[in-house]
């Protein structure tokens, strides 16, 4: 464990730690572009300059290992001058189009320039012209002029996805990032290159020009796209959700997430959602409040015999919700006919080696655990048989949020609609539900961004997440729905066992948090 001193502070680090990592550890600020904790060291941006005692030249911090007794300094005039000029070299050919650049507001160049900038541009010659709006693939657009050639994206495709689509072509100040002919950037993790791009050179086609980043707030959550359970940040404002980015978690996803997971915000947005409760009877559809639909459904359940009642669950809800509804069915309605709707059975166990899993549910482990806890052993075969024979009269379904992960959705709806009464709880609207005949209760549910809860991922890791915002105010959580279906009223859960200061509510937003959330966009350590 070598000890070193950074700007006069004593720091002890692990063997083989580079200076830049040691500085992150000690909380010292250091300018850098090309270094990324998840990638190899390139050492090309030449910004992370530090002065090491006994060495006449400034050294780069990313490729110098800490040794015992090293005295490191990055606040001296010499270092600041080196960084200032390093930045100016980055900027001489960089276009001044921040107003139309999507990265503005979360741009590494802007951030660093505020701190280390020269503020006295001396470049009087015409800038180097390069390609604009280069289509790299189905997800990413490149602006070569903005690129500072930090090679992060190239190293990402080389080291993480090992697909090698990107490369730097040409040399000198004519260098450009590019793909070979007929080899577009089309891997399943391509949008990570947009995240790690410190400038606005790589932009996501999905997010491009849709919002300025300073109009967005962000909150951390868990991706519900598959059983990996990547930690994510969702960006939203009052118009809805706009994008999803990964958050570093060593145990789950590292620094990355897949492109599929970046689409999860879409089904949480209003235009895809079931906004009201709907009840279909012989006279057609009537629209009611979400809670009212649940209460109406309670009447049906009450009049159904215990063994004519069944519950179908998809593994897309939180552990707490599963526990509440399965508990209600087992204890209140005295039925153990609880069924697990398994989607895409063939690919259920597949894994691409990096993050993507075939099980497209965030909480399969959690559901199995809850079913186990309540001693539920029913299989899907019982349900099909029961519905077909008319033994099961009322079916309550907690339908999926992420409909794209359920290719068998229409089929299942048709199968279950044979039951006399169908109570369908779901977040998203769908034509298959709209076309249902017979007695149907549609209850709008909350998406994963609108509730607190826990997902248990494929490895059995419990991950708690918090509510981000409310999109559909009438939607219910499964816990609330369970209460209403059982004929109870919604209660505010009492705070137990927690001591709160008298002058502070539990949900009170402190001023610091507010600032962080709304006005200051923390770029994290990237």
């Amino acid at each position: 464990m070598p000890k070193c001193s950074i700007n006069g502070k004593e720091v002890e680090v692990k063997e083989g730690t580079s200076i830049i990592e040691a500085m992150q550890q000690s909380g010292d600020r250091i300018a850098h572009y090309c270094w990324h904790p998840g990638l190899s060291v390139a050492g090309v941006c030449r910004l992370c300059m530090v002065e090491i005692e006994g060495n006449p030249r400034v050294q780069i911090a990313c490729n110098t290992m800490v040794t015992e007794g090293m005295k490191i300094n990055n606040t001296s005039e010499k270092v600041r001058d080196a960084v200032k000029w390093g930045l100016d070299f980055h900027l001489i050919n960089h276009p001044l189009d921040c107003p139309i650049c999507d990265q503005a507001g979360e741009c590494g160049l802007q951030d660093q320039y505020m701190e280390y900038g020269k503020y006295d541009p001396e470049m009087a010659e015409p800038k180097q012209r390069k390609h604009k709006v280069v289509d790299l693939g189905p997800t990413v657009v490149l602006d070569s002029e903005r690129c500072i050639l930090c090679s992060r994206c190239v190293r990402f495709t080389e080291e993480v996805t090992k697909t090698n689509e990107l490369g730097i072509f040409n040399r000198g100040d004519r260098s450009e990032i590019g793909t070979h002919d007929g080899m577009p950037l089309a891997n399943k993790y391509s949008l990570n290159t947009v995240d790690i791009c410190p400038v606005g050179a790589l932009t996501s086609k999905d997010f491009r020009f849709r919002q300025r980043v300073w109009y967005l707030k962000d909150a951390e959550s868990i991706c519900n796209g598959c059983s990996t359970g990547c930690n994510v940040k969702v960006y939203y404002n009052k118009e809805g959700f706009f994008r999803v980015k990964p958050v570093y978690n060593e145990k789950v996803n590292g620094h990355w997430m897949c492109d599929e997971g970046r689409d999860i915000y879409k089904f949480a947005n209003k235009e895809h959602r079931l906004l009201k409760g709907q009840i279909h009877t012989s006279s057609g559809w009537t629209e009611t409040h979400g809670g009212a639909a649940a209460k109406a459904a309670h009447e049906v359940i009450k009049s159904t015999a215990a063994d004519a009642l069944a519950l179908v669950l998809t593994a897309q809800y939180t552990v707490e919700e599963f526990d509440a509804i399965v508990g209600t069915f087992v204890n209140e309605f005295k039925t153990k006919k609880v069924f697990f709707w398994i989607n895409n059975k063939e690919t259920f166990d597949s894994f691409d080696g990096l993050l993507l899993r075939g099980d497209k549910n965030p909480n399969t482990k959690g559901l199995l655990k809850v079913l186990d806890k309540h001693g539920v052993t029913a299989t899907w075969g019982d349900l099909s048989q029961g519905v077909a024979s008319g033994a099961i009269k009322t079916v309550v379904v907690a339908g999926p949020e992420n409909l794209s992960a359920f290719p068998d959705f229409t089929e299942r709806v048709a199968e279950l609609s044979k039951a006399q009464n169908l109570i369908w709880m779901q977040a998203d609207k769908n034509d298959a539900l709209k076309n249902l005949k017979g007695n149907v209760w549609l209850i709008p549910m909350k998406s994963f961004t609108e509730k607190d809860g826990t997902f248990i991922n494929h490895a059995g890791l419990e991950q708690k997440f918090k509510k981000v915002t409310t999109v559909v105010s009438e939607a219910l959580t499964l816990t609330e729905a369970a209460l209403l279906l059982a004929g109870k009223n919604l209660m505010i859960p009492p705070a137990v066992g927690e001591f709160l200061p008298a002058n502070q509510r539990e949900d009170q937003v402190m001023l610091e948090m507010r600032k962080k959330n709304e006005f200051v966009f923390k770029r994290g350590s990237l």
Binding site: G43, R46, A82, F89, H90, E122, D173
Partner: protein, 430 residues
């Protein structure tokens, strides 16, 4: 003092190119001697000789070999024949006239460092030398001098020629290794140094053609005999490529420490009639320029030139007489470096282009007086900030040209034409 022909003794013979001709003059005798020695003894001998790398940096060869890890890991011996430095043409002559001299030197060096595989990375433009080498390699393989069990000693050594594709940066050792690995020719971060992790991440030694050839003579005559030539710290002889405005440009082998003025006046045959010496670039285009007064003081060894703020480099002595415009010359150099920068490190990628743009706006008559100081500032901030030395190589000439011949630059900016030639850029012959 005069020329001392150690390496170049038989270069005038046409059949020195062939195996028979080379053997007739005592070739491949040293290798037999060397293969009977202990490898460590050869390394010690090279260390004792004080031989320094002839490619440009002048790093002691024996010390470089000593950096190799002491284990049985496979290792590589690479010969750097990517002679890209403007003004240098000594390696070309060596490979053309005496390919077997290089091969013999490489076998001995490979035996000393324990390598069983070597490559000669030759510059893409050198078609003729490459063909000579191909032929010589075939001869050597046929004679059992390369391949398995060389001369019955039990030592195996395979040698190949690899032709570059015309990038200056591939003359830098890690850039060359990248190119050899099939990657884009870009220098690699150091550490790890090639001696620890080089070609294919194995320990690798990279030496210049002249260095490897000289090893033969050190082993043949012993370190002390080699030290007879040259100075205390810069031992032996070195080939100098004399070019520019002299009567007899060409390659000359002189002992190190030889006065630069003597090289110009004796070997080079003096200046052209009616012309005066203005400046000399002593070590290839990357070396800072010397004025005529400094040339008189300069000796051709590492220390003397370092004392004058320049370097011996690859030994390319470029002579500039008073008919040359320094602004125009620097324009040629900055264009070269802007074209050859690999584009990896930002200060070099953007800096070389910036210097070139400033200089060409001066040349085209659009310069401003503050541009001269800007040139100095930019060059100063490129220096020592990058992975390899190309950034320095681009900055040093700019710094030395502008500080030493500032009057010419100022005249050009004010008048929009050359002080020496009196013509504008468009009127100059390019």
């Amino acid at each position: 003092m005069a020329e001392v022909k150690l390496l170049t003794e038989f270069y005038h013979l046409d059949d020195f190119q062939t195996l028979a001709g080379y053997k007739a003059k005592g070739g491949y005798e040293t290798v037999q001697k060397a293969l009977k020695m202990q490898p460590q003894a050869i390394i010690d001998e090279v260390k004792a000789s004080g031989l320094r790398g002839r490619g440009g940096a002048g790093f002691p060869t024996g010390m470089k070999w000593g950096f190799l890890p002491k284990n049985n890991e496979p290792r590589y011996l690479l010969c750097n024949a990517d002679e890209g430095e403007p003004g240098t043409f000594k390696d070309r002559m060596m490979m053309e006239r005496a390919p077997h001299q290089l091969i013999e030197g490489m076998i001995i060096s490979a035996f000393a460092v324990g390598s069983n595989k070597g490559y000669i990375y030759i510059r893409g433009e050198y078609t003729y030398p490459a063909n000579v080498l191909y032929k010589a390699l075939k001869e050597a393989y046929d004679a059992g001098l390369l391949g398995k069990n060389i001369l019955g000693s039990g030592f195996d050594f395979d040698l190949d020629v690899y032709r570059g594709a015309g990038a200056y940066i591939c003359g830098e050792e890690t850039g060359m290794i990248s190119s050899l690995e099939g990657l884009k020719g870009q220098p690699k971060l150091k550490p790890p140094f090639p001696a620890v992790q080089g070609y294919l991440r194995k320990p690798t030694i990279v030496n210049n053609v002249e260095t490897l050839a000289a090893v033969t003579y050190i082993v043949r005559d012993g370190a002390q005999a080699y030290r007879k030539n040259g100075t205390e710290k810069s031992t032996g002889t070195k080939l100098f490529s004399l070019s520019g405005n002299v009567m007899k440009p060409g390659n000359y082998e002189v002992p190190l420490g030889y006065p630069l003025m003597d090289l110009l006046m004796n070997e080079g045959g003096g200046m052209k009639p009616g012309r005066k010496l203005k400046a000399v670039i002593p070590g290839g285009s990357s070396a800072p320029v010397l004025t005529a007064e400094e040339v008189a003081k300069a000796n051709l060894d590492y220390e003397s030139l370092a004392g004058l703020g320049t370097m011996l480099g690859s030994g390319a002595v470029i002579v500039i007489d008073d008919s040359q415009c320094m602004v125009d010359m620097l324009g040629v150099l900055t264009h070269f470096y802007a074209h050859e920068s690999c584009g990896q490190c930002t200060p070099c990628r953007e800096g070389t282009g910036w210097l070139n743009k400033i200089l060409h706006s001066i040349l085209e008559g659009k310069g401003r007086l503050q541009d001269i100081d800007l040139l100095l500032k930019v060059a100063d901030n490129m220096k020592g900030k990058t992975i390899c030395a190309l950034s320095d190589a681009a900055a040093l000439p700019v710094l030395s040209f502008v500080t030493k011949f500032r009057d010419e630059f100022e005249f050009y900016v004010r008048e929009g034409r050359s002080k020496v030639k009196g013509t504008t850029y468009a009127e100059m012959q390019h």
